[in-house]
C-alpha cells in the first residue's frame, strides 16, 4: 500500500460505484478514516491497520465464496473487524457505529465477489 493516494482518485467513503476499487486497501482505509471522522467514532486501531486486516479477510472471503454457509462467514468477518475496531452494531449502539459497520460488511462482500471473479 502506498503512503499517499493521488488526491484526484481518493474514493469517497461508502462509494461502491466502482467495485474494483473495493479490493484496494486504500479504499478500506479511506472508508474507515473518513467514515469514523464524519460520524465521530473513535477506532481502537489505526485505519491503515484495520484496512490491511480487511484486505486480508476479503481475500479469504473471495477464496471461499463457493462454500456452504458463506453468508455466515461474511457476518463473522464483519464481527471480527468490529471487534478489532471497537465498533458496535446492536440495538443500543450509536447509529453511526451501525452505519459504518454496514459499510464494512458491504465492502467485504463486494471485495470478496470482485476478487473471486
Amino acid at each position: 500500500m502506498s503512503d499517499e493516494a493521488p488526491a484526484n482518485s481518493a474514493p469517497k467513503w461508502g462509494d461502491f460505484s466502482d467495485p474494483n476499487r473495493t479490493t484496494d486497501p486504500f479504499f478500506f482505509e479511506s472508508m474507515l478514516a473518513d467514515g469514523a471522522s464524519v460520524l465521530g467514532i473513535e477506532l481502537r486501531e489505526t485505519p491503515r491497520a484495520l484496512a490491511l486486516y480487511m484486505t486480508e479477510r476479503a481475500a479469504h472471503l473471495a477464496s471461499i465464496s463457493h462454500e456452504p454457509g458463506f453468508a455466515l462467514a461474511v457476518i463473522a468477518e464483519r464481527d471480527s473487524v468490529a471487534l478489532r475496531a471497537g465498533l458496535a452494531a446492536n440495538d443500543v449502539a450509536r447509529a453511526g457505529d451501525r452505519w459504518l459497520l454496514g459499510l464494512v460488511q458491504g465492502a467485504l462482500s463486494v471485495a470478496a465477489r470482485v476478487l473471486a471473479t
Binding site: L61, I64, P68, A76, D79
Partner: protein, 143 residues
C-alpha cells in the same frame, strides 16, 4: 530526627504527586477500553452464542454431555450475556469464558461435520471466536 521525618514526608508527597497522573491515566484507559470493547463484544456475541449453543446441543445429542450439564452451560451463557448487556465487569471477570469458548468451538466443528459450512467458513467463524476471546480477556484484565 524531626528533619528526617520532614524529608521522608516530602519525598512521599513528591512520589504521590508524580504517580497520580499515571493512576488517573490508567483509570481513564480502563474506562475507554470498556467503552469501546464492550459494545463491540455485545455486537459480536449473537454469532458466538449461536456457535456455543450449537456446541452444547451437539454434545448433549452425542451423549458427551448430560442434559443437566447442558442446561447448566446454557445458564452460564445467559449469565455471560447478561453481564455483557449490563456492563457488569465484576460478573464478566468471573464468567466461565474458557468453557463457553470450548463449546463454541465444538459448535463450529459440528457445523463442519454435517456439511452446513465448508472449511473456509469454519476458519472465518474461528477467526471471530479468536477475536472475541481476545476482547473478553482484555475486558477481564488478563491482557
Amino acid at each position: 530526627m524531626l528533619k528526617l521525618f520532614w524529608y521522608v514526608g516530602a519525598l512521599a508527597l513528591v512520589a504521590l504527586v508524580a504517580l497520580s497522573p499515571f493512576q488517573a491515566s490508567s483509570c481513564i484507559s480502563a474506562r475507554t477500553q470498556q467503552a469501546t470493547l464492550l459494545p463491540a463484544a455485545r455486537a459480536a456475541w449473537p454469532g458466538v452464542e449461536a456457535d456455543f449453543i450449537r456446541g452444547v446441543e451437539s454434545s448433549v445429542a452425542a451423549a458427551r454431555l448430560s442434559a443437566a450439564a447442558g442446561e447448566a452451560l446454557r445458564d452460564a451463557g445467559r449469565e455471560f450475556e447478561s453481564a455483557l448487556e449490563s456492563s457488569n465487569m465484576a460478573a464478566l471477570r468471573v464468567a466461565p469464558w474458557p468453557t463457553i469458548e470450548r463449546y463454541a468451538e465444538a459448535g463450529i466443528e459440528d457445523r463442519l461435520s454435517v456439511g452446513e459450512i465448508g472449511p473456509g467458513v469454519m476458519a472465518s467463524l474461528l477467526e471471530r471466536l479468536s477475536n472475541f476471546a481476545r476482547t473478553i480477556y482484555r475486558l477481564q484484565g488478563a491482557e
